[in-house]
Amino acid sequence: MMWLSGGFIFRKGYSFYHRLDPRAKLLNSVLMFVTTLLARSVFEMVLVVAFMVGLSAAATVLKRVARTMAFTALFSGFIFVVNVLFTRDLETSVLYATRFIAIVVSTSIFFITTSPDELEQVMKMFRLPRDVVFAFVTAVRFIPVMMLDTIQIMDAQKSRGLELEKGNLVRRVRNMIPILIPLVVNSVVRSGELAEAMEARAYGAAPRPTSLLAYRARRVDIGVACASVALFALAAYSFYFVIPVQFP
């Protein structure tokens, strides 16, 4: 499971795409997403996916995007089977199945190239309440801490004789209880300490908090944003007027 989740988790990268303004990346992903909805034939969908694969390669994240695709292929297969059963139309079924993969990939590219810091900035741009943004920030910030906690608790419980890998499914799920309870208790204690530390550093003091980081769109960001819009327009135009429709 761990290697599959890699398809949505940010890791530091230094490609041109990683360094883009998060707004440009968001716009690009949204437009790619919409393009997948506009594609009306398997050929068009293949073009869209090929573009996204090329982009992932340029952003040096092709391996992880491939993982995302492998992961979604499972669901995509399910969609294909259901569609074949109900529509009895092979082409439409393939289209829907690939569309699902394409949709996931378009969002995945955004999330694996955008740091939590940038995500926070994007959330602020959408004027989400500060508490919501901060809850997101701390949730992501404490993922590695909680993972370490979990490993420590598992080791501690195993050393006291807890056997995690034994028994049937019900037994295995029940075995998780001695891991989960200390983890939850830990987290509650931690959140109390966090609340104190937030107060001590004036959380919520100013009606309009400021930010150390300033995102100013550079020429390259605007250039990429324009290119995304142009490509989107081109794709939409050719899907409807150039490439002949292959099914009613």
């Binding site: 901060f134 801490v145 004036a202 908090p209 400021t210 930010s211």
Partner: protein, 283 residues
């Protein structure tokens, strides 16, 4: 210089608790001092510290009487916003006071909350990075830091708000001996450079006796001893209240008992004092 902290007949009892966590507490600390607060676990140290930075009574309910005056104003009557800029609080576990994804953004956290303009914030973050000599960590994520580094980052975030008084709650409890003594040296240097007053809760007195001006010992919610570290540690009561007497002091006491009056003279606290006393006798 006047007192930065004045505690006047303070009593505090948590809701549902049968007895006071802090009783009849009196304390004055002049500006620029390093004061050490010691005492057994559960003696009310943490509660006392929380009355100084305003978490009590602003965040916790309970029965509160007396007054705590920080930099001339009463904690009861000040907002958390004002207190956050006067009193810095370094909590025991640095992990739980680092909120952001990069070191420099975390140092800016308090300033962002106060609405400090970006240019000034940048300058103050850079100053804090320089003071703690962690400029090379500015872009690191919290999980890429060692415990000692986390402690420094958390302290930088506190200092960026330019508090007059900084409280350190058992700052060395999670650090190895070398990092712990580095932290103590850092506190001494910051006091020299910034004139900041420090109140440090600490069990490892060996580390701090060299730099502390005042030692306060608490027991059962009350102040039981107070004075210059030398006076308190050579007094008769310190051991009875569970204070960890520094090794040098114990050595000297043992020598005095076994050799009568022929031991090294003076009241020694630190290894360097012992060294020069021994050299003096030989020379």
């Amino acid at each position: 210089m006047g007192d930065i902290l004045g505690i006047e007949r303070l009593n505090f009892r948590y809701p549902e608790s049968p007895k006071n966590a802090v009783s009849d507490f009196e304390l004055s600390i002049p500006e620029g001092e390093i004061a050490v607060l010691a005492g057994p676990s559960g003696c009310g140290k943490s509660t006392l510290l929380r009355t100084v930075n305003g978490l009590i009574p602003h965040m916790y309910g309970g029965e509160y009487s007396g007054d705590v005056i920080v930099a001339g104003s009463s904690v009861k009557g000040s907002s958390m916003r004002d207190l956050a800029q006067t009193v810095g609080f370094l909590f025991q576990n640095p992990e739980n006071q680092i909120f952001m994804f990069t070191v420099e953004r975390d140092i800016a956290f308090g300033l962002e909350n106060l609405g400090v303009p970006r240019e000034e914030m940048r300058a103050r973050v850079d100053e804090a990075l320089r003071l703690l000599r962690i400029g090379d960590l500015a872009q690191r994520a919290p999980h890429e830091l060692s415990d000692g580094q986390k402690q420094r980052v958390a302290l930088a975030g506190v200092l960026a708000m330019r508090p007059k008084l900084v409280i350190l709650d058992e700052p060395t409890s999670l650090l190895d001996p070398k990092t712990a003594s580095e932290l103590v040296a850092l506190v001494a240097r910051l006091r020299e450079e910034l004139g900041t007053t420090f109140v440090v809760v600490e069990h490892r007195l060996d580390l701090l006796v060299g730099v502390a001006d005042r030692l306060v010992v608490m027991d059962g919610g009350r102040k039981v001893l107070e004075g210059a570290p030398r006076d308190v540690l050579f007094g008769d009561d310190a051991e009875a209240h569970g204070v960890a007497i520094p090794a040098v002091t114990r050595v000297q006491k043992a020598l005095t008992e076994s050799k009568g009056g022929r031991a090294v003279a003076g009241r020694l606290l630190t290894p360097s004092e012992l060294a020069s006393a021994v050299e003096g006798r030989q020379g």
